[in-house]
Point group: C2
Chain length 370, copies 2
């Protein structure tokens, strides 16, 4: 078939919207009509050329929602008409990782996914002249139709609006999951969140959902305060306005240090601050942000020997097929909010404007509706 | 009263054995006759002057066992004749830390202990001319008699030999506790232990006690192999004999990385290796060793984002009054071994030989018997 897609032809160039060829689903694969997709910093990380593992030409996008239109041979858990969210972190439920209680990093399709192809080693996308186009993060939601492995699709309820729950495909789950699945934050805890962008806001509401007593947001931009408060922030700190040492300020503000701290900036200096303002004895600091290639975190080992833990999270520690449908339920039940974070809606033709809005800091999330 | 003690008069000098004055126990304090004490690297760290927080003159020693000879007013949990192990990590059971499920770092007497004095701000030790001598780590087991807060004493069974269980006052508990209390290692896990000295051997037997399937020991000295195997090591790696990358070698040896890795070297480069050979997705690396002042650990945050955790432990995560008596039971029941690690016995007069043996790498543990 043919479908309309925004194609990243080469690093650093704007996406080009065009008709492309899409082969139908093979064994264990599913054809999905994407109804909406968010534009995430990770897409920009690759588009810009900053991602050392970026491959081109490719169809980016990994934060979508859509409907199953065809299933390949052997597909058992999905049928035509099912509503789904594509998963860049698959859940096969049979690999060593899926069977381990401490991780969500299913490895079943990881190697091929990293190469931009389906598990059989080939791409379903191509230019009209036959030139192959690579998949991206196993999702390629910047195409109106896309093919994914069955294990890379979470089946969700049919009454959930695509233009909102697409955000659960990455940002919402990453932020809320970091609190619920990775930190396992308890009621009454104190948390500090560094970076109040799209991920940070979801960490805030994750802490609210967990019943935190104190939710501190840290950002250099005072304009973030109002929205952050809407998502549960109880205290705002602008490091530029703190006299003296930021760690000492945060330790004092949190009565000795936070139980859980989260980096949603990708800045390795901020990651150190996040660790060091965690509470002595039991504070855990969780890295969410993606650092520039080659950047390193550092601290004195004394920080760990005195009881702090340094951890990380990918996709919020969520097991996609199991947890994403639950997060959709939380949204539909009003336990979490998404609507105020979808600040812009675009047509696919205008997708490059979405990247511009991101760079200008004007959007929390821009969503493309097909 | 007067007692015999080895006194550290100033940094970098040998200890001097002399008679000193010892005041009796005040409110909440206990007078203990030390029967035996180990000589630990931490004593040497302070004696040598490397410890930036070292204070002099002081009576060092923190790894002892003895008998209660007098209790001060208000002491309820101990009576004359009780056998005890001094605790440099107290357990008051009422501070914020003791009441928190994730830490053993009781803070009740920490501030005064760090200053070398009892909780009332004064020392019980003095020179015969009246010059005060400071306590050390709240223990000062290099004195035949010493005074401690009641909450800094673990009551143990009376049939346990002092010259062996004194080692539970630091090294045994630190190593075994890192596995049992901090890592909470599960049966069937794989562990890697860096540094096969007194602490490392106890980490090995901690892993054996936990039922680990693979216990890898890493040390630059091949002479450590035989003793390490006695304590449960299943595979030995000498980094100097590994061709190529040590992390890659250890990841391959452990079938993808270890579930738990432990640094018992204090070397920040080794700490990084320990983290990076932990298994993707769920490997936890635990820092036990004390690094030189100012030294920093570093890694790429990617190591954490892909599921490794970096943690630390002090006193093996053990709550002294609760857990130390259990570890004594494990020893008496034959679940753990101590005897082969007590390689040298000394009189107090010869205590400086104990430090020489440590420097020469000839002792695992030298014990002074009074």
């Amino acid at each position: 078939m043919r479908t309309k897609a925004a194609v990243a032809l080469e690093a650093g160039k704007p996406l080009e919207v065009m008709e492309v060829n899409l082969e139908g689903p093979k064994e264990g694969e599913v054809l999905v009509e994407i109804k909406a997709t968010g534009i995430c910093h990770t897409d920009e990380f690759t588009r810009s050329g900053d991602d050392p593992e970026g491959l081109f030409p490719a169809i980016l996008g990994h934060e979508g929602a859509g409907v199953v239109v065809e299933v390949g041979p052997g597909v058992k858990s999905l049928e035509v008409g099912d509503h789904v969210i594509p998963l860049y972190t698959a859940e096969c439920r049979e690999c060593e990782y899926c069977l381990h209680p401490k991780t969500n990093l299913c490895q079943k399709v990881r190697a091929t996914q990293g190469k931009g192809v389906m598990p059989d080693g080939t791409s379903r996308f191509s230019m009209l002249d036959g030139t192959p186009i690579l998949h991206y993060m196993g999702c390629s939601t910047f195409s109106n139709y896309t093919v994914l492995p069955e294990i890379s699709l979470a089946k969700i309820r049919k009454d959930a609006p695509f233009d909102k729950v697409c955000y659960i495909g990455c940002g919402v789950t990453t932020g809320i999951g970091a609190v619920i699945y990775t930190a396992k934050a308890e009621i009454g805890c104190r948390g500090v969140v560094f970076g109040l962008g799209g991920i940070g806001l979801n960490v805030l509401q994750g802490l609210r959902l967990a019943g935190a007593d104190q939710i501190v947001g840290v950002d250099l931009n005072n304009d973030k305060k109002e929205m952050a408060e809407r998502f549960g922030m109880t205290h705002f700190v602008n490091p530029a306005e703190v006299e003296g040492d930021l760690v000492a300020h945060l330790v004092e503000l949190t009565g000795g240090g936070a139980d859980y701290t989260f980096d949603a900036t990708g800045n390795v200096g901020v990651m150190r601050t996040a660790l060091e303002c965690a509470h002595k004895g039991w504070g855990e600091s969780i890295i969410i942000g993606v650092a520039p290639a080659g950047a390193e975190i550092a601290t004195r080992p004394f920080q760990l020997v005195t009881g702090r833990s340094w951890r990380g999270t990918a996709f919020g520690g969520a097991r996609g097929r199991t947890d994403v449908p639950k997060i959709v339920d939380w949204y539909m039940d009003g336990k979490i909010e998404i609507d105020p974070m979808i600040t812009h809606k675009l047509k696919l033709e205008d997708i490059n404007k979405g990247f511009d809005l991101m760079h200008a800091g004007e959007s929390i999330r821009a969503v493309v509706e097909y």
